[in-house]
């Protein structure tokens, strides 16, 4: 099956206004990202604050223009699409859905808006009612104003609205982070059902590793704008994983009897600034395993297992005995 989303060599460099107006500093928020996503698939994106997750999402939905590389949706570059074409392929779901709702518009009108934009005015009242029902909102909510609904209802509404152009990809950026656990579970259920019914792909950006694990088929781990590891969810954090992934997952509080014996990799030091990233591997300044090569050369992608790709000089291609990662980690 051809991928729905195909991202190649994607980079975003922001030019910052600094003290010197003639020399603008460059902040690399996303660097040389490659990824593909199949229809109906969910890719979780994790990484610490400021690693470029949101920027990646904004590049994919077309909010930002890439500094290099391309984003293709259904084989066509997003940059070459009209607004409406793009809207029928990808929709964002954000953390604060209420901010996306015009405070002066009634819920019904807000839901009808995508239909009006796409010239589907006929029968829009029925479609609005269906849309409300599909996210389990009562029909009478259509007459209310955005400030008259709850946060959970607002998120359901935002999802219903985003689904009306029938996009094939949802980019959810911390979409559940502002909700309490019960509402979160509710929306997760909703997203799952939508995905099953429509074969919608999802890019699920979140800080919540457990949530990502729960919802994703595959996970991408970002560090300083780069994807350092991407692979099936059950292989993330295993022994073949990138040192950063293991530190990240080790840093998250988890109860896991098997992990108690192994030495937990913890992160030391500060994350380097994306304005002045270290040469070679982005993680080398904090990596407990770093060797000389890590300080010189950007590590190439290495396929360490089925569908699992790690950007690390120490990673060994799948199939070899005694990958040095294990030895050095002291297992």
């Amino acid at each position: 099956m051809p991928p729905l989303l195909d991202v190649t060599g994607l980079s975003k460099v922001f030019r910052l206004r600094g003290p010197n107006p003639f020399h603008r500093r460059r902040l690399t928020a996303v660097a040389a990202v490659d990824l593909v996503l199949a229809p109906g698939e969910t890719l979780g994106v994790v990484g610490e604050s400021g690693c470029g997750k949101s920027t990646l999402g904004r590049l994919i939905v077309g909010d930002l223009a890439p500094s290099a590389g391309t984003v293709r949706l259904a084989r066509r570059p997003v940059s070459a699409m009209t607004r409406k074409e793009r809207a029928r392929l990808v929709q964002p779901i954000v953390q604060d859905p209420r901010a996306t709702l015009d405070p002066r518009w009634r819920i019904g009108a807000l839901l009808a808006e995508p239909l009006v934009i796409h010239g589907q005015r006929n029968g829009s009242a029925d479609r609005v009612r269906e849309a409300l029902a599909s996210v389990r909102l009562p029909p009478d909510i259509a007459d209310r104003l955005p400030h008259q609904i709850s946060g959970g209802q607002a998120q359901r509404l935002a999802i219903a609205r985003a689904l009306l152009p029938e996009p094939r990809l949802l980019v959810c950026d911390e979409a559940l982070s502002a909700l309490d656990a019960a509402v979160q579970a509710d929306i997760v259920h909703l997203l799952r059902r939508v995905q099953a019914e429509r074969d919608t792909a999802m890019l699920f950006i979140s800080h919540d590793l457990d949530l990502v694990r729960h919802l994703s088929h595959r996970v991408a781990v970002m560090y300083l704008g780069r994807i350092v590891e991407i692979g099936p969810v059950d292989r993330i954090g295993t022994r073949q994983s990138h040192p950063y992934t293991r530190a990240l997952i080790g840093a998250a509080p988890r109860i896991d009897p098997h992990r108690r014996r192994t030495k937990r990799a913890t992160l030391e030091g500060e994350t380097p600034s994306p304005i002045d990233p270290p040469p070679g591997c982005a993680f080398q300044t904090r990596c407990p395993l770093a060797i000389d090569r890590c300080r010189i050369q950007v590590p190439p992608p290495v396929r360490v297992g089925p569908g699992q790709i790690v950007h690390c000089h120490l990673a060994e291609p799948a199939g070899r005995d005694h990958p040095p990662l294990h030895r050095l980690a002291g297992d």
Binding site: T100, E113, I117
Partner: protein, 285 residues
């Protein structure tokens, strides 16, 4: 004022000052609308035998309730016709400024780059030059027709709307509902007209109510200086100008139009304050 209206149930009760202001502005509007029927230029024939008669209550008679001016013209008829002229010029002028400024501001925000820089430079130039000097120059160069005069008055104050519209458009575009409409496929036109404009309308109306009295005063000043409304037409400004020389002997010639203008300016400001509170959706809970 604002504390009174924004506290709780401002929905039911309209402050009495606002009611008064509305009543006064309504009266002015009514006078302006019916001016042609109440008074005609014929009422302005001069009658030198009845020069400088005082208003009722100051020794005047019912024949001339507001007295007469230096040429013996009936002040009431003159005031009525002047209100019409002044309101018309100020209203059309304010609307020209508001529409022009808002449009330029929104266009600047959407286009960015050179267009944005050019508009903002114009804004800065306009804001830094004393407008009345520019108006004097323009009228001196191009003559003193009513049309040109209205356009000149209309150019006054556009930069405020431009600044506000640009800033708020940029802010609204950056995140939130405008971005959401764009994601759904809506274009700049839909976003500007259907979403941003209604949301910044409150601020624009407040600006308009601040600008309106100033525009009225500009009309007055220019007419006072003899560069605005030309005889035989009459405006509150020309009346003020005429009355200046008689301030000590026949104060009513200047004071009557002066009071009308001041009250109009005050009423518009009161109304503007109140409207801002009502139009702000964040206060409408």
């Amino acid at each position: 004022m604002s504390a009174e209206t924004s506290s709780g149930d401002g929905r039911a009760s309209v402050p009495w000052l606002v009611v008064l202001a509305c009543a006064y502005l309504g009266l002015l509007a009514l006078v302006a609308a019916l001016a042609g029927a109440i008074a005609t230029p014929d009422d302005l024939t001069s009658d030198l035998r009845s020069r400088l008669l005082p208003p009722l209550g100051f020794g005047g008679t019912w024949a001339h309730p507001l007295g007469t001016d230096e040429l013996g013209r009936d002040m009431l008829a003159r005031v009525i016709l002047s209100v019409r002229t002044s309101l018309f010029v100020a209203l059309v002028g304010t609307i020209i400024g508001a529409v022009l400024g808002t449009t330029l501001g929104m266009v600047a925000a959407w286009s960015g780059g050179f267009v944005d820089d050019a508009v903002m430079m114009l804004v800065d130039v306009q804001a830094s030059l004393p407008f009345i000097i520019l108006a004097l120059a323009a009228i001196a160069l191009m003559g003193s027709g009513l049309g040109l005069f209205i356009v000149v008055v209309g150019l006054f104050g556009w930069e405020r709307y431009a600044r506000i519209a640009r800033g708020m458009t940029l802010a609204a575009r950056e995140d939130g509902y405008a971005a959401a409409t764009a994601h759904l496929g809506g274009g700049p036109w839909r976003i500007s007209v259907q979403h941003i404009l209604p949301n910044i309308l409150g601020t624009l109306v407040v600006t308009l109510t601040i600008n309106f009295p100033e525009t009225m005063l500009l009309e007055t000043s220019l007419s006072f200086l003899g560069l605005g409304i030309q005889p035989p037409n009459t405006s509150l400004g020309t009346m003020l100008g005429d009355g200046r020389t008689y301030l000590l002997t026949a104060w009513w010639i200047a004071v009557v139009p002066g009071v009308i203008i001041s009250l109009a300016a005050l009423s518009t400001s009161l109304l503007g304050d109140w409207l801002r509170d009502r139009l702000d959706p964040n206060l409408r809970r």
